[in-house]
């Protein structure tokens, strides 16, 4: 399964993602933001970082990159797309996911481990987890405060499209477990069609024991398991 990882000017988690897809026994391939075609990839990943220096708004200018037209077409045709951190911000700015990531409530860059509660494990990205499972992963962002209008938030909740929520060790999604002020402690969401996911925490930085957690591997294992039968046909 070929996974295309897009490098924008300012991306800094692209190599982590590459390594992580390899660890999960996928076949990673770098794509450059100026590329126009995605080639024969089975999935697309948008890495974390600071594309275009976060100028204007985090993720905003990356949406104008030549490759994003193909990413949109790929997403609309049902191709799996995962955006992590800055990748999530880009997906929101590109209109592939609803809402926006505002400045953290604290105004500080938050860089530490968080606990996440798996809200919906019936997706191609979360099927390796149990519903309610608590995961440990790091966050590293200044704009991770998920915000959307009340009707969008209501829709996300009603349609089980919040996949991950910041929670405490007991699985309570309370204010003290919320690192950035996100509405309803939202850490990761999926689109209506179920093929585009965005999340602020970094699963690719939680894939080896030496990193302190292997809880992130499940996301990649789930996606590759989903793609496996497709590539055999």
């Amino acid at each position: 399964m070929k996974v295309g990882i897009i490098t924008f000017p300012g991306s800094n988690c692209d190599y982590d993602l590459y390594k992580c897809v390899e660890t999960a026994t996928g076949n990673p391939e770098f794509l450059w933001h100026r590329d126009v075609h995605l080639g024969d990839v089975d999935a697309i990943m948008l890495p974390g970082g600071f594309s275009y220096g976060d100028y204007l708004r985090a993720g905003a200018i990356a949406t104008m990159s030549p490759i994003m037209k193909s990413v949109k077409e790929f997403a609309v045709s049902g191709g799996p797309v995962l955006g992590i951190c800055n990748g999530f911000q880009i997906l929101c700015e590109a209109g592939l996911l609803p809402g926006v990531l505002l400045r953290n409530r604290s105004l500080l860059f938050a860089s530490h481990d968080v606990l996440l509660r798996v809200e919906n494990n019936k997706t191609i990205f979360t099927s390796e987890y149990d519903a309610g499972q608590i995961l440990r992963m790091p966050i590293a962002h200044a704009e991770g405060n998920y915000y959307a209008s009340d009707d969008i938030l209501e829709k996300l909740e009603k349609e089980d499209r919040v996949l991950l929520r910041y929670a405490d060790i007991h699985g309570e999604a309370n204010t003290s477990a919320n690192p950035n002020g996100s509405a309803f402690n939202i850490a990761g969401i999926i689109n209506q069609e179920g093929n585009v996911m965005g999340m602020m925490p970094h699963p690719e930085r939680a894939v080896e024991e030496i990193l302190g957690s292997v809880d992130g591997l499940g996301i990649f294992a789930a996606l590759l398991a989903h793609l496996e039968p497709m590539s055999n046909t």
Partner: protein, 91 residues
């Protein structure tokens, strides 16, 4: 064609949490400016654009805001247009 100078103001939507504005408000309070409230922080963009009329220059500015300069989920914008006169062009 006439050269128009656009001032595009992009500000967080009313009611939206603006932590930067809040922090600045606290700073102003600590300087004893006690009557201060509702501090909001936005962006001001200047650009010059050639267009046949002010209306057209504004329209293009609005298009730019809809496409990239503002995110309607969190921001509002307004545009001021001024004709750039010859002396200013030379500066």
């Amino acid at each position: 064609m006439t050269l128009w100078h656009l001032e595009i103001r992009v500000v967080p939507r009313p009611g939206l949490l603006d932590p930067e504005g809040k922090a600045i408000q606290h700073a102003l309070h600590s300087l004893d400016y006690e009557g201060i409230q509702n501090v909001r922080v936005g962006k001001l963009l200047y650009l010059d654009i050639e267009a046949p009329s002010e209306e057209e220059a504004r329209k293009q500015g609005e298009d730019m805001c809809h496409h990239i300069l503002a995110n309607p989920v969190m921001e509002d914008f307004d545009i001021e247009a001024h004709r750039v006169i010859e002396e200013q062009k030379k500066l």
